[in-house]
Amino acid sequence: MSGFGAMKALAKRELIRQTRQPSRIIASVATPLMLWVFIVGGFSNAMGDVADAGTSLTAYTIPGMASLTVMFASIFASISLIQDRHDGVLRAALISPAPKWSIAMSKIGAGSLIALVQAIIVLLALPFLGVSLTPVGILGAIGALLCISVALIGVGLAMAWIVDSTQGFHGVMNALLMPMWLLSGAVFPVEDAAGWMRVIALLNPLTWSHAAMRGALGMSDAFNPFLAWGISAGFALFGAALGIWAISRSKKP
């Protein structure tokens, strides 16, 4: 069998589950919005305008909050693998003739769709903060956020495959993702950061996804767009491949 039918059915399941747990949507959007209010409220007077385009901190941090929304949604998407394992749903899927990549791709596909819908809600704040949204800008932002969600869900699936408990998974993902997000230009421009921090930020693939997103939205041209898009796409491919590989190779459940 091709596996696309199985992938579609499993992805549909994820979407149905999402609609029946509205608290997940609220948590994914509310947390970044609250963080945004606190960061902007605390730092905007001290920092003034940021980046070479003279964008206000209020607007500058919106793409970062959109990526944080995607990050939370990605954690929810990959943690559901642990839940599926405990419920036995995963065992039934693994024993079926459906190819294992279809299980990983259903999580990545549905998880990304959910993450993007939530992130777009955050991005809709931009026109109210002086940044006009063009169709190309919106498509570019969606593309960059898609790269982030595919990569993070893939990495999360690989992690969820190894870690048995949701508590352990949260610990590992927070330890990995929060520093990654903070050092990615989400809340301050890394091009102006101190030397060592700048080096770390440039090695961080999320930095390039933020650069691609801000470039598309016309908020910054500090990074080479080809490099930014290349690294973002490569990160997404790496994450997806890692997630598929983890689920395909192991006989854990």
Binding site: V89, I95, K251
Partner: protein, 297 residues
């Protein structure tokens, strides 16, 4: 070709810092168009065998001649493998899609199977709102959607009350009459094994006996004597008394079972105050004797 054919399987669990544990050893089993019960205590290797058949566990040696693919195979696990937030119908649609069955066909199969299992009025209810017994039947429906040629039941009624268990087995009986398939049941419940066409008794990873329940019972003679002792001191004189009748006693903890005991006069028992029962043999007698043979005196 038989629906199930495994030969000379050996599975060893190796963990760092722990001694190797042999889960299956020289295990051979064949079954076709019947219900075969795997009867054995916890740790006998029943679930490992299920894992090998389902291709989630690779044996160290031996071969699995059939099933050759996962298309004709389904499993009912110890707990339902259903998404609690989805309705029964949605769960069945996913099971069908995982087996590559067209949408329309899934729907007609779902209706027919749920009719047979008497849960068609619950098709559009979320699984989390079903009772334990109904959820098990819904899980059975999930496993039946692909019309498997081999259905594995891994202790499918664990945790169910008596009524729910009876309901489950009544449903299973109806389904078998309609669909016709090979069923492999892993259980440690004697009354469930009695429902099977044949019983394979397992102990320490080996298959120690395979036969029909009737023939297994008959192998113990017309009557079995069961002696329940109160303490260790009572055991040796009783064993001696049994042997004086040219019978072989089988000791399981403080209980002694004696097959072919119809000619023993229980009034001649040398010890007072022990519980003596002489009765037709049961599958439980055979199970106790065969799975405890390593512990015999």
């Amino acid at each position: 070709m038989s629906a199930l054919d495994v030969r000379d399987l050996r599975v060893v669990y190796r963990r760092k810092g722990e001694p190797d544990r042999v889960a299956l050893d020289s295990f051979t089993l064949k079954s076709d168009n019947e219900m075969l019960a795997l009867l054995g205590p916890n740790g006998a290797g029943k679930s490992t065998l299920m894992g090998v058949i389902a291709q989630t566990i690779s044996p160290e040696s031996g071969e699995r001649v059939s099933p050759v693919s996962r298309h004709g195979l389904s499993i009912v696990f110890q707990t339902p493998a259903l998404d609690q937030l989805l309705t029964v119908r949605e769960n069945l649609q996913i099971s069908g899609a995982l087996h590559g069955i067209p949408k329309g066909e899934i729907e007609s199969r779902a209706v027919a199977i749920c009719d047979e299992l008497k849960i068609s009025d619950r098709l559009d209810e979320q699984v989390r709102h079903l009772s334990g017994g109904l959820a098990r039947r819904a899980d059975l429906a999930r496993a039946l959607i692909p019309h498997p040629t081999l259905l594995l039941l891994d202790e499918p009624t664990s945790g169910l009350d008596i009524d729910a268990r009876r309901s489950f087995w009544d449903s299973m009986q109806r389904i078998r009459e309609h669909l016709g398939m090979t069923v492999l049941l892993a259980t440690h419940l004697i009354d469930e094994a009695e429902r099977a066409d044949r019983v394979a008794m397992m102990a320490q990873g080996r298959c120690v006996l395979v036969d029909t329940p009737t023939r297994i019972r008959a192998s113990l003679g017309e009557r079995v004597l069961r002696i329940h002792t109160r303490n260790q001191e009572q055991i040796e004189p009783i064993m001696h008394w049994i042997r004086s009748h040219d019978r072989e006693p089988h000791r399981i903890d403080q209980t002694i079972i004696v097959p072919d005991a119809q000619s023993i006069d229980v009034r001649s028992c040398p010890i007072d105050g022990v519980g003596l029962t002489i009765a037709p043999p049961t599958l439980e007698d055979a199970y106790s004797i065969r799975t405890n043979e390593g512990a015999l005196i």
